[in-house]
Amino acid sequence: MIAVAQSLQSEVVAALATVVDPELDQPITDLGFVRSIRIDRTGVTVHLRLPTSFCAPNFAYLMASDAVDALRRVPDVGKVTVLLDDHHDSDKINAGLAADAGYVGTFGSEAEQDLDELRRIFQRKAHTAAMERSVMALLRSTGTTVEQLPGLTLGQLPGGSHKDALLRRRAAIGLGIRPDDLVLVDDDGVPVPPDAVPARLRFAKAVRISVEGNAHFCRGLLATRYDNEPGGLITDTRRTT
């Protein structure tokens, strides 16, 4: 029984680790946004927290509802409850999550459409940043030149965390991940023309700096707000019964 229970804990944590802050392109478990996890006989209750009360409610809702979806995919987890703490819209968001109201149902007249397009905007930014990281690492570590980049394929990228990240982000926006697919493509998969490559890379760098900077900022604010209180505290009463 204990082995089973421990695996439930790790499955719950693994499920939460699939939830990404769209702006920061990092898992909520790494960012410290998971405040606590409680597993009992009936189910799992997860409290989330964010760097400020005024973090955008659309992103807040997106992460919380993604957490619900991810947890529900864990076998035998039981009832899933996700609560967002200390946010200016906590009551509204928590009520919406509890009622499975969906985004539009949660925010009523304040929301006009689903969050799909918003999510896509940030998936595209994440892809752009991941592409820049991969390409710059290649330029720094090998004799590859900028002139060779238009023909660069995924298969020519060295394996490792940069490439893995790039493949995940390509898959997220529907781009190919075969070894002979070109690396330098726009958000729709159209190859970047050779004369546009330097400018595309330069803009991609600005995107990466922006995304990384936001993460510095949010991590710092979260630590200050919660006085460095560690997140991810797990209590599991199912395990001992």
């Binding site: 702006e23 009360s53 955008a56 304040e110 900077g213 936001n214 710092g220």
Partner: protein, 339 residues
């Protein structure tokens, strides 16, 4: 004026506030959440010895402001950029009458910018005309994320907003400072989206649009827009204190801004009282792009002089003493994408 190594810098703090966030002025829980959020920014990004106690932070008053800026902070001129937030605070967050009185009592040292909100429609336009005359407005600070009844924000290219911008042209209010912040309606849009600035900057070329905190957290979108639109500027509010906590990241921000929009359209500000200007000015004058960031050229004394004050002085027509100006003929290096 700040002097170091024989160089003299004219300092304009382009974004300051005089606020009252004491409990008695809080209208609801959001008033408390808002100042707590500010205080976390202050605590997280200030050097330890510059951190204020919470009570002082909620209300510091005009005399403390004068001391922090003009006695201790090297500031020659400062510009009020108020956030009114009337849905959160009984008498507003920014203290309009106190700031105005302070401006009048210190001629030449302070500029008071006011705010408008297009959701007040015709009545707000009439108020803007009165405010422009009474307050001698040269600029406004717009807070597109401000709550108003059920609405959590608006866009610069909304039809009513355009009418207000046209009125600004009529009234000679040339400097439109825009704060992009969280929460906006409809919520399914990106609340930090700067695309509306692109539209109005194209349509109102006689207005200057100063995007506060250089569009962060959308630095790249801001840079892209500013590259296309010569009348878009970047204010360094909120970005500045990274010089202490994350100098490497600060270097990248400044490097990107100089690359994309150039040295003539970046404005220093402390965002007082989020932070205080003294340590920021000292740190910025001492700052250099780290050598390992080989993609960026070193930042020059001339560029620092422009960013710390001369750029804002040009926007607001401030009289810069002869000895603090750049030598005649010192133009920009014309290397930015935008030039």
């Amino acid at each position: 004026m700040y002097e170091k190594n024989g160089e003299k810098y004219f300092i304009v703090d382009a974004h300051i506030a005089l606020w009252d966030a004491r409990a008695a002025n809080q209208k609801n829980i959001h008033g408390k959440q808002f100042i707590d959020c500010f205080y976390d920014y202050h605590k997280n990004l200030s050097p330890e010895e510059e951190v204020w106690d919470y009570d002082t932070y909620t209300y510091y008053g005009g005399q403390r402001l004068l001391k922090d800026l003009f006695e201790d902070g090297y500031v020659d001129h400062a510009i009020f950029q108020p956030a009114i937030l009337s849905d959160f605070y009984v008498n507003g967050f920014g203290q309009t009458e106190d700031a105005l009185a302070l401006t009048r009592a210190n001629p030449g040292k302070l500029t008071y910018n006011h705010a408008w909100d297009p959701r007040h429609a015709e009545a707000g336009l009439e108020q803007l005309r009165k405010d422009a005359a009474r307050m001698n407005l040269q600029g406004v600070k717009l807070y597109t994320a401000e709550w108003y009844g059920d609405s959590r924000g608006w866009k610069l290219d909304d039809p009513w907003s355009r009418r207000y911008l046209e009125e600004c042209l009529e009234l000679g209010i040339k400097n439109i400072h825009v704060h992009k912040g969280p929460t906006i309606r409809p919520l399914d849009r990106d609340s930090f989206d700067v695309a509306d600035i692109d539209k109005v900057a194209t349509d109102y070329t006689d207005l200057n649009f100063i995007v506060e905190h250089v569009g962060l957290p959308r630095l790249e979108d801001f840079c892209w827009i500013a590259t296309q639109e010569p009348n878009v500027y970047g204010g360094l509010a909120v970005a500045m204190p990274f010089i202490h906590t994350r100098p490497g990241y600060f270097a990248q921000i400044i490097g990107e801004l100089l690359y994309w929009i150039g040295e003539d359209r970046i404005l220093f500000s402390s965002d007082y009282a989020l932070w205080t200007p003294k340590w920021l000015v000292e740190a910025f004058v001492d700052f250099q792009i780290p050598v390992e960031l080989t993609e960026y050229a070193p930042i020059t004394v001339e560029q620092k002089k422009k960013i710390l004050g001369l750029n804002a002085a040009a926007l607001y027509g401030l009289d810069v003493p002869e000895e603090l100006r750049l030598p005649a003929g010192a133009g920009s290096r014309e290397e930015a994408v935008a030039s």
